[in-house]
């Protein structure tokens, strides 16, 4: 019998410890050193992946620590990470991010791991009567045998002392007798855990202030006296399961800060109100860094994550998928026909039948109404294609490091357009020769969104050369709506520009002429979206000129207002 098979019953019991409704795949039991090395879990007893909901057990380490008799407890602990804490990937990410002002990346993750272990173990010991203390006693015994208990760090002593207080075990049961300050801090931590067991963020904040003294600022000095029971990891395909993390939850309002103590510990038993931050966007840097810290993405997947971030912020404003409506029609009376036995009784028209003959003979004098349908005539709505020019000069800010409302607005319009069946051409532009564009009008969502997120961070020179692509646009293509966003002088839209011709020689052209040709060929209208407090004459002149060829003009006081515009625009052009 393989290790996998021999633990099937144990696994079922572990799930039953929590509920008969728990549905999780069977755990992967690893014992081979090569495989364990490959999985980077040589020193871990077990691991739980939140995205793929998979438990991996290191049987070799379990045997080494003398824990063969406690596999049921270890497995129940793993199930606890699914059922109780953290429960899902978004909560893990939120908890880790919550501590970003207190600890460096790895340390924050470590503290959250300890916190969720405390919640799960306390539940298993107090509510289910599982001997979790025996696991730690065995770990302690094995460590004494190896001699590592001597170097067990202060934090481990604190952690074990917390369990002793929580479970009313005599001091020294799980760790060598602790000094007075560890004893004090463990008592407070135990109290915090019990008081705030349902308010995790408040609980974690208090614990973070207590743990801070024991943990290094960064991960370089992080040492573990003894191994943890397990490690909670993001797991495979984590990015697809992080929906909801782009916005803040209400509990995240009062983040703990390593440079300032807010008196949280005095709030015990009294309750501390949090500031309302529900649904406010999280900063993109926090979003990306946290995802990297919890292992949900690698450094190379930043753009993919950023697309997900802005998509999530845009989605509440995106139009719903268009529905196919049946044409409105009225039934038209087309006379009557014979009703025979076997047909629906409801179809029988007694009035018509009596008109035929006062004597009712089924199948001979019985009549039914015959109706037809007027299909009506409704002109099919063709969605406009979108040609969007996103200013990504220095003043607009990098969407990867600060929240960009213009990016959210662009995402709203692009996703709505694609849903409605339109094509989109996107251009990210900044200084001269700094324009990144999609390969023409496209329906490739990833390509379009990536282009919008491209950041130049330089000067401002509108890329008139991109408009020259309209020369090749088919005459029968749908009309286009050109959208330009900027917070600077836009006179370059209609002034002269230079572009290399086929022979490679610089040729001078006029922006206004190119724009006129584009508008004419694309059957286009346009919208100028600006955020300029004081306009110079050049910009004023450009606006007036462009208005004459079919552009609308909107100036907002702050970019946040552009969201409402994008929403209204999408509804008008792509809504059903």
């Amino acid at each position: 019998m393989s290790s996998q098979q021999s633990y099937t019953t144990t696994w079922e019991m572990a799930k039953l410890t929590w509920s008969k409704y728990v549905r999780l795949q069977d755990p992967i039991i690893l014992e081979d050193e090569g495989v364990l090395k490959k999985e980077a879990m040589l020193d871990e007893l077990a691991r739980f992946g939140l995205a793929n909901l998979r438990v991996v057990v290191n049987l070799a380490e379990i045997k080494k620590e003398g824990l063969e008799d406690h596999v049921d407890t270890i497995l129940a602990h793993e199930v606890g990470h699914h059922v109780l804490a953290p429960g899902n990937l978004v909560t893990l990410a939120r908890l880790v991010n919550y501590l970003s002002g207190m600890f460096e990346a790895n340390v924050a993750g470590y503290v959250v791991n300890i916190f969720t272990d405390l919640l799960v173990n306390d539940f298993l010991f107090m509510q289910r009567g599982l001997p979790v203390d025996e696991v730690y006693k065995k770990l302690k015994a094995a460590a004494i045998k190896r001699g590592t208990i001597i170097i067990a760090d202060q934090f481990w002593s604190l952690y074990m002392r917390i369990y002793e207080v929580l479970w009313r075990l005599p001091a020294g049961t799980l760790t060598p007798p602790a000094n007075a300050s560890i004893d004090r801090d463990a008592k407070i931590a135990a109290r915090v855990l019990r008081t705030y067991s349902k308010r995790w963020f408040t609980c974690l904040k208090n614990l973070a202030y207590i743990f801070k003294t024991y943990l290094p600022v960064d991960s370089t000095g992080l040492q573990y006296g003894l191994p943890l029971i397990d490690k909670v990891v993001a797991g495979n395909d984590a990015l697809d399961k992080i929906g909801g993390f782009a916005t803040l939850s209400d509990e995240e309002g009062d983040k703990p800060n390593a440079r300032q103590y807010d008196g949280a510990l005095s709030g015990k038993d009294k309750g501390v109100a949090s500031h309302g931050v529900t649904n406010q966007p999280r900063m993109p840097t926090d979003y990306l860094n946290t995802l990297i810290n919890i292992g949900a993405i690698t450094d190379n997947e930043r753009i993919r994550a950023l697309i997900q971030y802005y998509t999530e912020l845009a989605m509440p404003h995106v139009i719903p998928f268009p529905t196919i409506d049946r044409p409105t029609s009225e039934p038209i009376n087309e006379g009557s026909d014979v009703w025979t036995v076997g047909e629906e009784m409801t179809d029988l028209d007694l009035f018509e039948s009596i008109k035929e003959s006062p004597v009712i003979i089924p199948g001979i004098t019985t009549r039914k109404l015959v109706t037809g349908e007027d299909k009506g005539f409704e002109q099919q709505k063709v969605p406009v294609d979108i040609d969007i020019y996103q200013d990504t000069s220095g003043s607009m800010g990098d969407p990867a490091s600060s929240l960009s409302y213009t990016t959210i607005a662009a995402f709203i319009i692009v996703i709505s357009a694609l849903r409605a069946g339109a094509s989109v051409q996107a251009t990210s532009w900044s200084g001269p020769d700094q324009a990144v564009s999609t390969s023409g009008f496209s329906r490739n969502k990833e390509e379009i969104l990536k282009t919008i997120l491209f950041y130049h961070g330089d000067g401002t020179q509108f890329p008139c050369q991109v408009l020259e692509r309209y020369d090749k646009r088919p005459r029968n293509a749908p009309p286009v709506h050109i959208i330009v966003t900027s917070d600077d002088d836009i006179s370059s839209m209609i002034s002269d520009y230079e572009v290399k011709n086929k022979a490679g020689i610089l040729e001078k052209k006029n922006g206004l002429e190119t724009m006129k040709k584009a508008v004419e060929r694309g059957k286009a209208k346009g919208s100028l979206l600006l955020c300029i407090s004081t306009m110079n004459d050049g910009t004023k002149n450009t606006i007036t000129t462009l208005q004459k060829i079919g552009f609308d003009f909107y100036n907002v006081f702050e970019w946040k207002q552009i969201i409402a515009w994008a929403r209204a625009f999408s509804k008008k052009h792509f809504g059903s």
């Binding site: 008592k187 135990a190 202030y209 003294t213 005095s266």
Partner: protein, 226 residues
Amino acid sequence: METNHRLGKGVLKKTFRLVIPIMNTPPQSPAILARRMFMKAMNELPRVIVNQENVARFTQDAVYAIFCDLLEDLLEKPPPRGPVKELAERIVAKLNPQMFVIALGFLESSTVFPAVKQAIPAVQARFNVIEYLMEELFTTTLYYSTVVTMEAFIASQDRKEEFARKLLKIFGIGIDGETQAESTATLENLDSVEMSKLSSELEVVIRKQIEDRLAAEEAAAKETRE
């Protein structure tokens, strides 16, 4: 016999600074009660007592009457009215009278009362029982209600257990299955007054650490500028 009539003196003024009061050494009683039993009593207190909306009902007269009933039940003779009335006045003025009524309700409950009654002779042997009970019940409830809100009491089993153990300690009632040392250690871990004191200590440490860190950063920045 020790006398211990200290009510209304300096010890009460110190309450809000969370100084642990010098309590009378509790008597040693042969009475023993299982944890399960006293927690049952705490969890099954009449709703009229624990319902927060009823707080207005616990007037001076009501507290006086309930306390007189308890003392009479325990001592099997009417208590002296003057001191009890005076105490009821102080209770309403100084603390949440509902918490005091909860204490009385707990001691009067059918599961706890027999043990309390059994413990009375040991109390009588050392103290003036009326004065002792008035002082200890008042002081214990006062300190407890200073650091634990009614919401926390209702929501948390630990807070109920803490209050129950404190009240039983007044009568020297032992906990079944626990040595005296274990009971003391358990109550120490549960003690909210002690916890407030420890939290205040820890807060001083945390603030000092932050100040030191900021000062070190400032010094390093100054060096760089120079």
